[in-house]
Structures are given as structure tokens and as C-alpha cells.
Symmetry: C2
Subunit: 169 residues, 2 copies
Amino acid sequence: MKHNDAVRLFAKTLENVQGWMDKAEAYAKAKSFEVVVLAEARLAPDAYQLTRQVQAACDQAKYAAAYLGGKQPPSHPDTEKTVAELRERIKKCLSFVESVQPKDFDGAEERKVSPPWLGGRSLRGDDYLVHVAIPNFFFHVTMAYAILRHNGVELGKMDYIGSLPLQEG
Amino acid sequence: MKHNDAVRLFAKTLENVQGWMDKAEAYAKAKSFEVVVLAEARLAPDAYQLTRQVQAACDQAKYAAAYLGGKQPPSHPDTEKTVAELRERIKKCLSFVESVQPKDFDGAEERKVSPPWLGGRSLRGDDYLVHVAIPNFFFHVTMAYAILRHNGVELGKMDYIGSLPLQEG
């Protein structure tokens, strides 16, 4: 798996999350409640709410594309409060992620990644992808899914996985 | 990222899950309830309970190691009902996963993967890793985490991520 493939997987998954937002809105409408209730829902009092989970998933995708592709990450302040705003945040994230080209990831394995939260230490690009970006991205995406499922939104595994590049035979 | 690295990541993460089981048991003891309550907990009436989430995470790791490493997957029936039994399931899974050697993954990218649920169709090894194994593995692991967090077990992000291969400077 190339670094480019991992970042494309993040982008594909965020497109899937847009579909979950459709289902969240349809569910709120069918049950006659404001969809912002779902945006503010959380699984525990000290756990992130849906908005923050989606923001964090976007950030994992954005920083992976930037750090591994050798680009400056754009600033996306966490100001979203509604499902409509989350959709825009995802679009903004995808727009940046898709601007990073496959060739930008050449040499990503050995690129030194030193985000501020590492306090001056660093990770090899490959280690950043394996130990930070992949697990964290899917953590926040799945927590968003879990919040919606817990609140009754009818999501299934294929909403999470999306399309597969199947071959006949 | 090599296929071997992805399978090692799954193994590392399952070791982390063993630590969550410690915390689940300590929490049940402190609150004076039977830890099997957590094993049977779920986020929605039609969602998998904790036991099934852990079984599914183990299966994703096992099948990735087998399909991509060109090995026959061992049969691990889903009979676990308790946290103690889940620990054993994880150990059994890790024992197989760790038996697959880095060199077994040579050529994994192009290996044809055709699990029964694809109904005769197939995926390239690299596509199986990217579109099936990675998202599904982290889905079930995070759902297990979400069930425990929702029920009050004090898990934090580092329990999920585990150790990082940091470099100084």
C-alpha cells in the first residue's frame, strides 16, 4: 500500500461520512427533531460530540496528506456547530486532500514528521502513517458512526465501507 | 507501508485491547458488578455486543494475515461469552498472526483475495488491505472501545494508540 492509497482511502471514507449526514438529516426529519441534537450527541459526558469527532477525522486526513505529501496544512478552525457546517468542513478537507498529487508522496516513507504535539520529537513518515494517521482517522470516523447508530440512525456496514474495486472471478 | 506493517499494526492494536480488558475488569470490581455485563453491552439493540466486536476485530486481523500472507486461516469459532474468554481469543489470534513471517507477504499486493462473502468475485491483495481489512479492523476495535467508554470504563486515546516509535529531534 502506498501512502497515496492511504490518503485516498481517507478521502473515500469522508465521502461516505457525507452519506451518513444525509441519513442523520432524514432521520431527524422523520422523527420531528432538530438534527443539531445529533451534532451535539456524545457517548459519554467526557467524550467528544459528533461535531468534534468529524472535525478530528478531517484533521487526521488533512495532516496525513500535508505531512506525508510535503505540503503546508491549511488552517481549518473547529467552528462547526451544525450538520450542514460539518458537510462544508468535509468538503473543505477533501478539497485540500485531493490537491495533493500521487507524486507528492514520493519518499513519504522516510519523510520526517514532527507535529507540535510530539514536543520536538519526530516519527518517520511510514511510522506516522501506521501508528498515528490510520488508527486515529478510523477511530474518529467510527466514533461518529457509533454516535449516530446509538441514537437510532440506520447505518449499516456498507455505509461505512462504501464501494469496493471488485474483480470478476 | 508494507503489508507486513499493516498486520503488525493489527497485532499491536489487539495487544492494546488486552489492556482495555484489564480496565474493564478493574472497573467492574470497583463498581461491584459482574464484568460479563460489559461483555454483553452494545450501543444499539441491533448492533454487535462487545464480545462480537472483539471476535470480528480478531477475524479481520486473522484473515488479513492469512489471505495476504498466503496461509490457510485457522478456524476460531465465535463461542466466547466472557471477558476472560475474549482474552484467550485475542491470544489465539495473535499466535496465528505472529506465525506469519514478513517474507510471507512478498507479492501480497497482487495476490488474489476471494473470501466466501464476495460470492466468487475477488480483490487484489492491496485493495483487500486498503478497502476491507484496515477499515473493518479499526471499525470493530473502535466499536469495542466505544461500548466500554459509553459504560464508564476510563479509556483514553493512548490506550487505543499504544506506544509510538518516536525519534529524538
